[in-house]
Symmetry: C2
Subunit: 389 residues, 2 copies
């Protein structure tokens, strides 16, 4: 009996457990301190009215024998795939419905997609969302890092000799909030095309982009359909972190040795996945109604206004930073190591953020602040931070 020994190469992630431990200890010793959490990337606003109404209606359908739904298509109901397809049309990206695979959130498919590939090398940014790295380690793939740093605004570009047949890009980025422009993504698409690599493009934060010059889908870039898979999610768009729905786009043009990956992915999904709950797919479809889109925009406006308050506060204090303009995350240079900055904010301002080093070695000396929070708390946090610097 052989276990998958690649698991033994995983490092234990103590990031969020260490944060929790430190916060708990501080609370125990400072019972009157009102701690403000700007750490975790989880939404705080409830599901919107359109979504709740659609879900309520779907629950009633499920309780009635005439409208009850059993197994749905593994790849998602046509009504949701059409709504997503139409959403892409508005970005001038033309998809066909069977290029869209509805899933239970981007995290699952970002890991599961590796089922389609043999051994090889992945090109992964540093710093990075830890799941990219860990899923590659589990699959036993070789990893080359892309160097994100202050000089490239944490938007690394390809360099000769980078190697890598799978390239992970996330824009707007988690954890840095930095966003690639069209020219930069065109360089990446050309690089992938030339090297027969595939870009795995994580667009989970696309709805935070408000600069019309910035792309919100890799498919806005010419040539991307034959070299990129896109992963998106309703988690941050519409508050679905606890409701679980997203989608993966695998274009028909995407071929490896003349084999269409769309067909491979369909086979993978029909064999190892049984679709997303009907009620959740109805709820997700409501996001794309006129009212749904207005509600979602209002929620994202709220988070982006939080982000502006955070950006302004730290900028006025002279911190170097990126993100926060087309993203819910602000990534700032601490002027000390990441954990020292964490301790200072917690102990002196009662504010919790995320040490950048938790996202990779290149995050050392940096810090992530999340705009997913209540407005009054954001204002109070910035006011306290201003008082300690």
């Amino acid at each position: 009996m052989q276990i998958n020994e690649n698991f033994l190469n995983l490092e234990q992630s103590y990031l969020f457990s260490t944060i929790a431990k430190k916060v708990n200890e501080f609370s125990a010793n400072h019972q009157d301190a009102k701690i403000i959490k700007l750490g975790i990337g989880d939404v705080t606003l409830p599901l919107t009215k359109s979504v709740i109404n659609a879900m309520t209606e779907a629950v009633l359908e499920m309780g009635n024998e005439n409208t009850f739904r059993g197994y749905g298509p593994e790849q998602g109901y046509e009504f949701l795939k059409i709504a997503i397809k139409d959403y892409y049309s508005n970005k001038s990206v033309n998809l066909v419905a069977d290029e869209i695979f509805v899933n239970d959130g981007a995290k699952s498919d970002l890991g599961n997609i590796l089922d389609l590939f043999g051994p090889g090398t992945s090109l992964i940014p540093n710093p990075v969302y830890p799941a990219y790295l860990d899923t590659n380690i589990m699959a036993g793939r070789k990893i080359n890092f892309l160097d994100g740093n202050e000089s490239n605004n944490f938007l690394p570009m390809p360099e000769d000799g980078d190697g890598g047949d799978l390239i992970y890009l996330c824009s707007p980025n988690n954890p840095t909030g930095a966003t690639y422009n069209r020219d930069q993504l065109k360089v990446w698409v050309d690089y992938a095309t030339k090297n027969n690599s595939i870009i795995l493009f994580d667009s989970a934060y696309e709805c935070f982009v408000r600069d019309a010059n910035l792309p919100t889908s890799i498919y806005e870039i010419e040539g991307a359909k034959s070299c990129a898979i896109e992963f998106c999610s309703f988690s941050k768009t519409a508050g679905f972190t606890g409701t679980r729905c997203g989608y993966t786009v695998v274009p028909h043009e995407l071929l490896v040795n003349n084999i269409g990956l769309n067909k491979f992915w369909l086979r993978r999904q029909t064999t190892k996945f049984n679709g997303v709950p009907y009620i959740v797919q109805k709820a997700a479809t409501a996001i794309f109604s006129k009212e749904g889109q207005e509600e979602v925009k209002a929620n994202i406006d709220y988070y982006l206004e939080n982000a502006q308050i955070i950006r302004k506060g730290f900028s006025e204090l002279g911190f170097w930073l990126v993100g926060g303009d087309n993203s819910p995350y602000i990534w700032l240079k601490c002027g000390m190591d990441s954990w020292a900055f964490f301790d200072k904010l917690l102990n002196e301002a009662y504010v919790v953020g995320t040490p950048g080093v938790g996202f990779g070695t290149n995050g050392e000396g940096y810090f992530r602040i999340s705009a997913f929070a209540n407005r009054a708390n954001v204002l109070e946090a910035i006011s306290r931070i201003k008082a300690i610097f």
Copy 2:
């Protein structure tokens, strides 16, 4: 760029698409024929009252900022895990909550579990639920078949030289409806223990067992906790085929080379899965309330009564069969090849079932009838079938 070439070894499954095509052609040519479908293993009764009430309440919580839930624990909320743990206590199986991993249905985890293992050989019954076979082919594992046939009542037992470090057992079985007794499972547990194999036990149909002498969990068998992983689902129990929830049990006693698989699976799930929707977990918890259990029992009684009608009908016609007494499936010997029997039933009785050969070579000459149907349709189907034999 290497694709996973194991995918090229998958056979296209034409079973259900061929059935659909034949049914569509027949319908087009016989527009007045009222076709009765006893083919697909999908439930027909709606979600029960307790489940609908719990879900409605949870939807309201998600729309209110004070009760809204974002990310939950990847392995499931404590309230559901405790309910499942208590359910096992009633079978005299003692689990701890963190041995239970809530998922979006047994199919996902039955495939995903292979992430934990290196290369090896799987022992898979023939006939079988096709997903076991296909996920093993995708993972590039060697496959040895277990010979299910009339002489062992489609309940194959281990034989010397079978080999296999992973052993797939499903009881009550899909597609045959046959159910292992305690003595038989004890032989399997002893065999796995002796050979350092792991049993992957699919108990998705456990709630159909009405014979108190038959086990409903592998953990009722002494020694199973150190050699078995159990996969269960609310799909058939409580009509969750379109609502998606189940669970996997990985006992702490289960070690490979002194490595605990529970910890490995936790790492896999926290990295590649983000949990089941809160509303669905609340709904699943309602299944375990007193009312929920009564409702579920009533629904299963209904399906089991259908199964008795089907058993009786075919038995009176002299067909050899198994299943249907502690299972929703009846597996019968056609007296002709599987597809000829399918055509006869469709053309002469307007009844649709599933050709056994679609589940493996040993299914040739057999046929699966599903009891998931409306009572009047079941009675009518049997009456028509009696008229043609």
